[in-house]
């Protein structure tokens, strides 16, 4: 946030930071060993589509590319949109490492076409606790945070903070807790 942004207003959204995502596979190992949380074999890339025509074209191209990617890696990919107008590219793969790679590939394809700022988050699901545990990777922040929904609009903050305490050595966890936004009603 520079002086120029204050004087003249922001002219771009923040560019996505995509690379820290790769801290996830190794953290997943200790999650399983120490916390009993297993990857559920599903993850998603969440992005905000643009209404402009060129974006629609890029999206169509991406669909083709996703099909190719799906054939090459054993991942299955489907698309879903949510009530807030965000698109979810849902990726299923039993191999956690492949899952993360495909998530990264998909986000990379969007960024390649210049739509990196439209990327909101990548989400992966873990089972084995009382409630499903989600790790949200915020592309704006370049960091993770845990999200444990327990109801339609409730989350288990205590559990999330415990996860942060246990994993922050291995995973870049967003330090500012007010930025741990929720994704209630998520489709994975």
């Amino acid at each position: 946030m520079g002086l120029r942004d204050v004087l003249f207003g922001r002219k771009r959204l923040k560019e996505a930071k995509r690379d820290a995502l790769f801290a996830l596979p190794s953290a997943a190992v200790s999650m399983e060993v120490e916390l009993g949380l297993r990857p559920a074999g599903v993850g998603a890339v969440v992005f905000k589509p643009l209404s402009a025509g060129e974006f629609v074209r890029a999206e169509n191209e991406m669909q083709e590319l996703l099909d190719v990617a799906a054939r090459e890696s054993s991942s299955r990919i489907e698309r879903r949109s949510d009530e807030y107008g965000y698109e979810w590219l849902i990726i299923r793969d039993e191999q956690f490492e492949d899952l993360v790679t495909t998530v990264h590939l998909v986000a990379g394809e969007l960024a390649e076409r210049g739509f990196g700022p439209q990327l909101l988050a990548a989400v992966t699901r873990f089972d084995g606790g009382k409630h499903p545990v989600y790790f949200v990777y915020g592309y704006k922040r370049g960091a993770f945070w845990p999200f444990v929904p327990t109801g339609e609009r409730e989350r288990d903050n205590a559990e999330e903070l415990e996860l942060k305490a246990k994993l922050e050595k291995e995973l870049p966890i967003e330090a500012d807790i007010s930025m741990w936004f929720a994704l209630y009603g998520l489709p994975i």
């Binding site: 771009r12 209404s51 807030y84 007010s178």
Partner: protein, 296 residues
């Protein structure tokens, strides 16, 4: 591939800078005046006057700071805004949280204002203190989710651009004039009539001008955040197209940044208004819609 910065508007940036220059000059002049008085009283060994000037030099900014802090809550109260509890209006709060995530801002507090006028406003000097309020009438109007999102995004763009801070800074010269006029001491009124009134009117116009520019910029910000300028266009048409019954805005126009301004009386003339006319805003947004997603 790089995308072109959305709605890069060099003309607007230049005009904003030009409008800011006299305001900065006012601050510089006030500072110099104060320094001159302090030095003058020191040289004359007029200790009473020196003490007065020194007190003003310290007390003035403190008073201003207090005024700023108070006016945030005063503006909310004037709008009859009630801050929402965590489980109140969950859909609205979830929507605001989503929009702020896209804007990379911490989710602001959300308030609901009782009003007959469909409007939305934000107050707060920085993103941590920000409160975004929507009026009950806005929620009653049948805005779609995407349109409501665009309205919220406009307010969050004000927050991201620190418009509360910028407009407070810009309003100080006019504020000083009104403080002189309303001072208990008759000398303030005389000083105002003899010297200050041209400064007062110029700074008032500059304030309105900058406020209009910031509205264009917030519209652009909303288009960036939502990726859909046309949603803001239709929302603006729904809420600003018809004259509102009653008005949200009192004398605290600067602190509360509304999405649509009052367009009645002499504020119908663009020069006197703190919001640009609807058709000009729609025109700019249409330009953005054409630019959106194009390569650099």
């Amino acid at each position: 591939m790089k995308r072109r910065p959305l709605g890069r508007d060099l003309g607007l940036s230049i005009r904003m800078a030009v409008a800011l220059i006299p305001i900065l000059a006012w601050y510089l002049f006030a500072l110099l005046l104060l320094v001159a008085i302090v030095i003058g009283t020191l040289a004359d060994r007029d200790w009473d006057a020196f003490l007065g000037a020194a007190l003003f030099a310290v007390g003035g900014p403190v008073l201003l700071w207090q005024h700023i802090h108070r006016s945030e809550s005063v503006a909310l109260r004037a709008a009859h805004a009630r801050e929402l509890a965590e489980d109140d209006e969950p859909d609205l709060q979830a929507l605001v949280a989503r929009v702020s995530a896209m804007a990379d801002l911490p989710p602001p507090r959300v308030a609901l204002a009782k009003s007959w006028a469909p409007n939305a406003l934000s107050v707060g000097l920085n993103e941590r203190r920000a409160v975004v309020a929507v009026t009950s009438e806005l929620l009653r109007r049948d805005l779609t989710t995407a349109e409501l999102e665009a309205v919220v995004a406009h307010e969050l763009a004000h927050v991201a651009n620190r418009d509360g801070l910028v407009m407070t800074f810009v309003s100080v010269p006019a504020l000083a004039g009104s403080a002189m006029w309303h001072a208990d001491d008759g000398r303030g009124k005389i000083f105002f009539l003899l010297f200050y009134w041209p400064v007062f009117f110029v700074s008032l116009f500059l304030m309105w001008t900058l406020s209009r520019y910031r509205e264009y910029v917030a519209d652009r910000g909303a288009a960036l955040i939502t990726g859909a300028p046309e949603q803001l266009m239709s929302a603006l048409q729904k809420i600003a197209g018809k004259p509102a019954r009653g008005d949200l805005r009192g004398g605290l126009a600067v602190q509360a940044l509304c999405i649509v301004g009052r367009q009645a009386g002499w504020r119908r003339f663009e020069l006197f208004s703190d919001h640009p006319p609807l058709d000009k805003r729609l025109e700019r947004l249409a330009e953005l819609a054409r630019d959106l997603g194009k390569a650099a």
